[in-house]
Amino acid sequence: MSGDRYYEIRDPIYGFITIDDWERDIINHEWFQRLRRIRQLAFTDMVYPGASHTRLEHSLGVMHLAGRAYEILTRNAKYVERLQSELGYRDEGIKRDRCLVRLAALLHDIGHGPFSHVSESLMRDDPEKLKIGKRGKDAKYTHEQYSAAIIKTFFKDVINGNQTNATNYGITADEVADLLEGRPSLGRKLFWRSFLSSQVDVDRMDYLLRDSYHAGVQYGHYDLDRLLNTMAITFTVPDKEVSRDNAELPPAASGGLTIGVEEGGWHAAEELILARYAMFTQVYFHKTRRAYDHHMEQVLKHVLKGHFPAPDNEKHLKEFLAWDDWRVEGLMATDKAGEHGSRIRKRNHYREVFHTTEVPSTSELDLLEKIKGALGDTVKLEDAADKSWYKYKKEEVVVDMEDGTRNVLSNICSVVNALIGVKQWRLYTDGSCAEETKKRVEKIVGQEGR
């Protein structure tokens, strides 16, 4: 924070979130306020009625945690020394980049479309990605690209033009956008990307606690204060070096700087990982919630009659930003959202008729294929954990050991070591034939001797 006046916002997770004049101006921007109209978890409230919170409060929470974590890390002489020796930071650079990191955290979700991640499949192909040979899902624009374009186009005045910033820091909207996109031109500042997107990042720290609170579940909890206070600026654990003939080792073959935890905090990191696993299996990948993601995707296809405009110019960005949950729900309420809009209104979702275990074996995958083949067009939706935007996979958290070495959490924590990323598959049919289809599935499963 950098301004002279401070304001406090009530928050259900942290009590109060403190912002300064500059941040308040950004928060009051009409396109930031749009985040009030984008629900964090789409139609999760069909299963957990309390889960109707928005991207706006999450964005404030991520900024708050980014600021707290940054302050804790840069108060520690050991980590400041690492920033100085590895990345050439000086005190003024550390002070400046705190503002940059808070702004990037605040604006990291500004490019979300209606119903958050559901919109991503309706984004257009990026010609730059097509040019380098990408196809299908790989070629689509991402919400991060929309975020970057929106920040560069509409937040220039409120960022570059802020007097305190211009006098003290010279942070630009382009810089904030580049940090979110991970552009190499950012240089050492790219390190702070680990803050926003890594195994121990402030984005997931906030959404686990916030989503858990609003959903009303007891999963998703971990010791936030302990985790923040034991976060570490450490080094990645490098591969064992087997250099080829005559290749000299680089001057610092110790891996790159990353965010990890101190040895004393590994249990807090373990809790974070278990919280993520539980939230994934019980909330984010809940079978009914996932069915509504599908119905919503079909609604968006219907009302858009194609795709969202590309983030390639101001006019298109304004057209994109005009889409929010309210607009889509208005169309659903007036029966202009097709069959799937009607399904959502009447809570008439597709029903799961088969699922594999969370980590299916090869023979289970063969069975899945067999069932799918036998059911044919009765299957209306096939879903996989890998298709979810909130994937659960094993995390590689670096632990900064007290003896000066580094280890990885899965090597010192048997619980984390035993966890394997969820790869579950599910098949769904229309509700009207779900019971009959389940009986057919049971018969096939029985024939296979399972």
């Binding site: 730059e128 552009r183 990307r193 090869t362 996979k393």
Partner: protein, 181 residues
């Protein structure tokens, strides 16, 4: 509705690399798959983000664990030595399931293993970062000069690599048309 799209091509790729390269670490696997996808255009569908330690895909790490669960590779942690990935009992079985894909892109796999299979992790990290920087700069400005590449790498990783190491890597990548001349 089409048949289930189980991503055998991803698991088969991991199995193939473990078999072809022998024992390798997670950094090496990340960068070899990076070159397969981003240089040779083998459609694996991973998203690589740039960190100070080079391009990294979290999904690829998830797939590595699953490929180990399927019995195609072993992943062992060596104290102070990082991870060691090697071929395991069901390697051939998983590659068989991806055989159409592996056959289609056989030449690309062979080329990546030939050029980079013997590189140390730091060499791969440097080369993959150079490639990604060149790719990203291409979409926003003129192609990077050698001096421009040296500056970008120094600013991302101050003091980690010498000018000579960066220039040697650039020369190699240009010679093999991994980055444009």
């Amino acid at each position: 509705m089409a048949s289930i799209e189980i991503p055998w091509e991803r698991y088969g790729t991991i199995a193939y690399i473990a078999e072809a390269v022998g024992s390798l670490g997670k950094t090496a696997l990340q960068k070899l798959v990076y070159f397969l996808q981003e240089w040779r255009r083998v459609p694996l569908g991973y998203s690589f983000d740039l960190y100070t330690y080079g391009p990294f895909s979290a999904d690829l790490m998830g797939d590595l664990d699953y490929t180990a669960f399927l019995g195609a590779v072993n992943v062992q942690y060596i104290i102070n030595g990082g991870y060691s990935i090697s071929s395991a009992e069901k390697n051939q079985e998983v590659r068989d399931r991806a055989s159409a894909f592996l056959t289609t892109y056989e030449a690309d796999f062979a080329e990546v293993v030939r050029l980079f299979g013997k590189c140390a992790a730091w060499q791969l990290e440097l080369r993959a970062t150079i490639h990604l920087a060149c790719q990203q700069m291409l979409s926003t400005m003129e192609p990077l000069s050698d001096e421009g590449i040296v500056d970008v790498i120094h600013s991302l990783k101050p003091g980690k690599f010498t000018d000579q190491q960066i220039k040697q890597a650039v020369d190699e990548l240009r010679e093999h048309h991994v980055i444009a001349n």
